[in-house]
């Protein structure tokens, strides 16, 4: 038995080595670290679509490799280093929790370029990039405010971090423009991905009188429950209309392909530099799924809102932004909250009758 095992291991190792070693010398190797499986139909799925777009765009000029289901933490460091050793020159690490591992590996290998999604730590050879998803949330708020009959929205949060809090605030600010008395019930799932729990949270929200469900967790479970109950919901990360043909109003879709193509092109041309990109609807890093299951006037309102955000005429966090305590939040960006304030958002705006957990 032992001999068989040793033989099997040897075969696997040789196969692995030849896989990594067999490429042509000029090919640019691009590596990806994914948090979930490529088939999660959400966050990781969208990153992999962008990787596929790269392959389509650059053909045999590049070679891509990805590692999926890489947990955040020490395991990530090992995986990133594995990609470096395999000869990848440009490496995308696609989750917030990879920030420190990526930075560590980046310091160790100054000749390799890294791209880290949704973080805030940069280095000479480490860029960061993220999407202004809150712009999409604002539009969803406007739609939800119009579509809710009960005046109560149901919001499933993952973790009370700024990224999620800014989404809740943007939603409410959007909803308040059409219904000043709009209410929101927030349930934290304390997980990014657990279809069963997300479904339970959606059930609880609907049972408590919410009639439009929005989520900041990754599976289509909530959409499915809303569909079963004949209520409305927004998708998350990718198109989820399959799970609720008569339910999905729209979905904020992460569109990484243009950015990835840009960065790989820069790398190929030898022009890659460390950058900080926060793209929104305008740069098409954030894209809205078709507006469906709503009357024409709401649809028009949604499209006008989207156009206004793209033109820069509408800023979701336009001053004055009033906090829960009724006081105006300091306006560091002149006419609106500046990026630092948005990225570190840890307060609810007025109109949210709840507390950020742990605060």
């Amino acid at each position: 038995m032992r001999k068989i095992l040793i033989a099997a291991t040897a075969v696997m190792l040789t196969a692995g080595a030849s896989m990594f070693g067999a490429s042509a010398a000029e090919k640019l190797k691009v590596g990806f670290i994914y948090l979930g499986p490529v088939g999660d139909f959400g966050w990781t799925y969208q990153h992999d679509l962008a990787r596929q777009a790269l392959v389509k765009e650059f053909g045999d000029k590049i070679e891509t490799t990805y590692l999926e289901n890489v947990s955040e933490g020490p395991d990530a460091e090992r995986s990133i280093e594995q990609l470096v050793r395999a000869g990848n020159k440009l490496i995308f690490t696609t989750s917030f929790g990879y920030m420190d591992p990526t930075l560590k590996v980046a310091k160790k290998y100054p000749n390799v370029h890294f791209e880290h999604a949704t973080g805030f730590k940069r280095d000479k050879n480490m860029s960061i990039y993220n999407g202004r998803f809150y712009e999409g949330r604002y539009i969803q708020g406007v739609i939800a405010g119009k579509m809710s009959k009960s005046g109560v929205l149901g919001y499933i949060g993952s973790f009370p971090i700024p990224e999620v809090v800014m989404g809740i605030n943007a939603t409410i600010l959007g909803a308040q423009t059409v219904n000043p008395n709009i209410k929101v019930k927030i349930i934290w799932a304390n997980t990014w991905f657990d279809p069963g729990k997300e479904a339970d949270a959606a059930k609880a929200l609907l049972d408590q009188g919410a009639d439009v469900i929005m989520q900041h967790t990754d599976s289509p479970a909530a959409m499915q429950i809303a569909s079963e109950r004949g209520k409305l919901a927004f998708g998350q990360d990718s198109e989820m209309i399959k799970f609720g043909p008569n339910t999905q109003l729209t979905s904020i879709m992460d569109n990484w392909a243009p950015y990835y193509i840009d960065r790989v092109k820069a790398e190929l041309d030898g022009k890659w530099t460390s950058e900080d990109t926060w793209g929104g609807l305008k740069s098409k890093m954030v894209v809205m799924a078709p507006y469906t299951n709503m009357p024409d006037d709401v649809k028009k309102l949604a499209m006008d809102t989207e156009a206004a955000i793209i033109d820069g005429k509408l800023l979701p966090f336009k001053c004055p932004v009033v906090g829960q305590d009724g006081k105006e939040v300091e306006c560091k960006g002149g006419t609106h909250l500046d990026d630092g304030q948005v990225l570190g958002m840890n307060f609810y705006v007025k109109g949210i009758d709840d507390k950020i957990p742990g605060k």
Partner: protein
């Protein structure tokens, strides 16, 4: 009133996969085998269960596919730990890793597809009884099946000769062997039963709970089932208490958040675990005082020939 009914219905659905998987594992452990691969068998059961139902349009065939898949995977475990006498803990952990990978592979073809979930029962008259009708007679059939299964397991373990032999094997395999009982064969059947239950528990998720398959959708429920068996001190009755308590606190904490009770959600999320552990430990202490684990649990048995 409607809200209470809705909450109880949600609790039933949330507890069922835990109860199913834990019941199977309880029988396995009562025979002296510790199979830590419940999570892996569940997720493969989920993938195969969904695949079966999606291809044939039949929930029953889906459930059977889940059961068969779980059983087959448990046979791999039986072959390693009983046949080759490999360490059970290591094999169980490996089984989970294998199961997670395998389920992704099996499920790759139908990620993003959806099916019509298992129908909720509707018995004439009974389901329409006010207050209790929908709870006692109106959930999907799996819910009631899982409870019937616990009763059957209880009867088997404590009221049949075969059950007595199984417990004897779990407590002292040397004596059982000396008395002429086929220890390894009995353990193999116990492991297979555990696999079948885990497979069905996994299949319950895409067939009734959230009718689609996504890799990793069991999200740790197999581990919770394992813990429930320990905290229920290997007794079917307490297992029901544990599983429903866990389900109830899970659902109630979500509702409490919606009502804005003001307790941090991080604490609320930990509450099901805390409550279940505390209650089951208290029950065990009050009744028996001391460990009730099968004495030969996790130990390898190699019959001398």
């Amino acid at each position: 009133m409607e809200l209470i009914e809705a909450i109880i219905l949600a609790v039933l659905a949330a507890s069922t996969p835990l109860l199913l998987a834990a019941t199977g594992e309880l029988v396995t452990e009562r025979a002296g085998v510790l199979n830590l691969g419940v999570e892996g068998m569940m997720i493969v059961g989920a993938a195969c269960g969904f695949g079966g139902a999606w291809l044939t349009g039949s929930i029953i065939i889906g459930a059977l596919c889940g059961i068969v898949a779980g059983t087959l995977l448990s046979l791999v475990f039986a072959l390693m730990t009983l046949g080759l006498a490999v360490n059970q803990v290591a094999t169980g952990l490996a089984l989970t890793i294998l199961g997670i990978g395998l389920s992704g592979l099996i499920g790759a073809g139908f990620v993003g597809e959806r099916i019509t979930p298992a129908p909720h029962l509707h018995l004439p008259v009974l389901t329409d009884i006010p207050l209790v009708g929908r709870i006692l007679f109106g959930e999907d059939a799996f819910v009631y099946l899982s409870l019937a299964l616990v009763v059957a397991v209880w009867l088997f373990l404590y009221r049949t000769r075969a059950g007595l032999v199984l417990r004897a094997v779990g407590d002292n395999h040397v004596s059982a062997h000396a008395l002429g009982y086929p220890v390894l064969k009995i353990r193999m059947f116990a492991v297979m039963f555990g696999g079948a239950c885990a497979g069905l528990a996994g299949a319950y998720l895409p067939l009734a709970y959230t009718p689609f398959f996504i890799p990793g959708m069991t999200a740790g429920r197999g581990w919770i089932a394992l813990a429930l068996v320990v905290f229920a001190s290997w007794r079917p009755g307490r297992l029901v208490v544990g599983a429903y308590l866990f389900g109830a606190v899970t659902i109630l904490q979500l509702h409490a958040q919606g009502w804005g009770v003001g307790i941090p959600s991080q604490f609320m999320s930990a509450l099901p675990y805390l409550a279940t552990v505390i209650v089951l430990v208290l029950i065990s202490r009050a009744r028996t005082g001391g460990s009730t684990a099968p004495a030969a649990l996790g130990t390898v048995f190699v019959p001398d020939r």
